[in-house]
Amino acid sequence: MLEVENLVKTFGTMTAVDHESFTIKPGEIMGLIGQNGAGKTTTFRMILNFLTPDSGAIRWNGHPLTAKDYDVIGYLPEERGLYPKMKVADQITYFARLRGMKAADVKAQIPEWLDRFQVKGKPTDKVKDLSKGNQQKVQLIATLIHMPKLVILDEPFSGLDPVNASVLQSGIEMLRDSGSAIIYSSHDMGNVEAISDHLVMLKNGKMVLNGTVDAIRESFGRTKLYLESGLSAEQLRDFDGVEKLVAHGNEFELTLADPTVGERIFAAATVNGYIPEFRQQPPTLDEIFRMKAGAEHA
């Protein structure tokens, strides 16, 4: 279990991380979101002991994380790097040996992992001869092959196409199922929503959101309404509490001031019986992210 408690880090006059706290249990995935410069990478670097926090504590299974714990960590930095002239198998073996694995064990497992991540390339290919997407997958394998108990992924989805993103997602889920504690950062709220058990959003180093994805969304109330019915745009706008209306073909997307407005619209829309769509939801994570990130500018 990773416990982060009241972490503060300043660089000169700038506060990069301001009283950050969260806990990740084994078998749990935590998404760390926030704009560029919000403090995500600084958080990771403090967990990895690259930076020393000004105050606060980081504990792994109850004790501070030290060089002795390096073998249980899997870390994927935001900007990827591999040795271009090295063979895929040698590359993975080197990183895995640095995590304490035996060379023979790594070599035996490489084909299975290349298969799992659908890497198009042979273990004997040079890294530079692979496509960018495949290089990224090789890097992921190098990060995960030793089955780390604490996985730290900095923007793992960036640059991946939807197919590869889902390959990565199942890789992350496989580690979660084996009991790893996983923390990752992302800009893509779709992925965060799909796989995170827990979410922390940072803004200028401060935590603005903290909780499970569902709980966070529900806390904003079901103020989004997607409707396809006999009611026209004008009729909908006349309802008290409709703040915004956007038409997508026959479907209208409404932003409500209050969830109860939905009940009145439902009654009016179903006066004549069947309607194809009535969907009242909390705002998506993406909308919450924009809302929170833009709060200061607004």
């Binding site: 870390y75 930095p77 790097g81 591999l82 040795y83 080197y94 040996r97």
Partner: protein, 422 residues
């Protein structure tokens, strides 16, 4: 310790198979090999002069003894062959099968005449012939005088004169010989070039290795797997294994070449003139220690400058300080060969530069052993302190990615290092 060897092995394996390292090691060997082969073929083309020996008015047993004695003196310049009669020899000369005829008569005493073909490939030096025959004549005379071999040796041994060269240092005579000084000077000269080459090549290899890892962000993964200190020393050790491999390769190549070279007469005679025992002197010991400390200091500097880059394009700027310092040391040591100066006396105590300057100053007699040991001591203390600081800075450097100039980046990394130490 396990991870130290993983890093060390990785650095070694990666470079030992690289084209640039193989070229570095093999190019001098290939160069020397080609030069040797050319020399060998040239020497093969020089055939010894073929000289027929004809012995006149001498009885059969004495004739054959003499024939054998002359044939035995054949060497790379002259090859003797016997002819029974003058006419047989003349015939061979006319058909240009031989280069000359040596006609020897034993009565009243050993004397000879030599006829040489004017268009012979190789001319025979008559002093060689004279020497050969004089020796035979000496033995003949000694035999007729009934002298024992010991008596002959005693008669021929020259008076002995020994020579000793002294230098006057602080009003005292100090034994010094020209060969020692010459060998020391040559040794220092070779050593300077060697130090320059090794520090520049290995320094830039190490700087590039680290700069590439940092520029490609591999460093962050490495530092989350292994402590910066272990990684730092693992890399240094890997580089030293490479250097050691190169030196061993040269020693083996040298030993093989030696077996071959030692057979050549020219080399044999040259080796007799040089007393290699002068190499086993205090000067050599100090020079070798300076070499080791110098290479290590440059390697640590290389690690520092390599860790300061932000991307792969800046790799060259990481190598520059090493080249500059290396060249400065080389120029100064070059200057030292023309004479002593206050500048040299000061720089022979400054770490980085003293590795090349001090051994030369010492070999040329501009500095004494006391000064050399003091300078070496300064270098060692500096190396320990420098390594300690660089190991600390190295770790924080990984986080400094900026486009600022070299000095500014250096200052930033020092301030991070200080902040982290609080």
């Amino acid at each position: 310790m396990h991870k130290f060897w993983v890093v060390c092995g990785q650095v070694y394996k990666k470079n030992v198979r690289s084209g640039s390292w193989l070229f570095l090691v093999l190019s001098p060997l290939i160069f020397v090999g080609i030069a040797g082969l050319i020399g060998y073929f040239v020497s093969q083309n020089v055939q010894p002069a073929k000289v027929a020996v004809v012995i006149e008015n001498t009885e059969a047993p004495a004739k054959s003894v003499l024939n054998k004695a002359i044939l035995k003196t054949s060497n790379s310049d002259i090859k003797f062959q016997t002819r029974d009669t003058q006419s047989a020899a003349e015939k061979a000369l006319t058909s240009e099968k031989i280069d000359g005829i040596l006609t020897v008569s034993t009565k009243p005493e050993i004397a000879a005449k030599y006829v040489e073909r004017s268009n012979a490939d190789n001319n025979v030096d008559t002093t060689t012939l004279t020497a050969t025959l004089s020796q035979l004549k000496l033995q003949q005379t000694a035999a007729s005088l009934k002298l024992s071999p010991e008596a002959l040796t005693a008669l021929l041994s020259p008076a002995k004169v020994t020579k000793r060269t002294v230098a006057i240092e602080n009003g005292k005579q100090v034994a010094k010989n020209d060969t020692t000084a010459a060998v020391n000077k040559a040794f220092a000269g070779v050593l300077t070039v060697f130090i320059l080459m090794i520090t520049m090549v290995y320094g830039s290899m190490l700087a590039q290795e680290i700069a590439t890892e940092k520029g490609s962000r591999i460093m962050e993964i490495l530092l989350s797997s292994v402590s910066a200190t272990t990684q730092f020393f693992g890399k240094l050790a890997g580089m030293f294994l490479l250097l050691l491999t190169q030196i061993v390769a040269y020693v083996i190549a040298g030993a093989i070449g030696w077996v071959w070279l030692a057979k050549l007469d020219f080399v044999k005679s040259l080796l007799k003139q040089i007393d290699f025992s002068v190499l086993a002197s205090q000067t050599t010991l100090i020079a070798v220690l300076f070499f080791i400390v110098g290479v290590m200091t440059y390697a640590v500097l290389a690690a520092l400058t390599g860790s300061l880059v932000s991307n792969q394009e800046q790799v060259n700027t990481a190598v520059m300080p090493i080249s500059m310092l290396g060249l400065a040391g080389y120029m100064l040591s070059f200057m030292a060969q023309t004479g002593d100066s206050p500048l040299l006396r000061i720089t022979s105590f400054i770490p980085f530069i003293n590795a090349t300057v001090m051994p030369v100053q010492l070999a040329l007699g501009h500095a004494g052993f006391g000064m050399a040991w003091a300078s070496l001591g300064i270098s060692m203390i500096f190396l320990i302190a420098f390594t300690w600081v660089v190991v600390g800075v190295y770790r924080s450097n990984v986080l400094v990615y900026s486009d600022a100039n070299f000095m500014k980046r250096l200052r930033t990394s020092f301030s991070i290092w200080r902040a982290e130490r609080k």
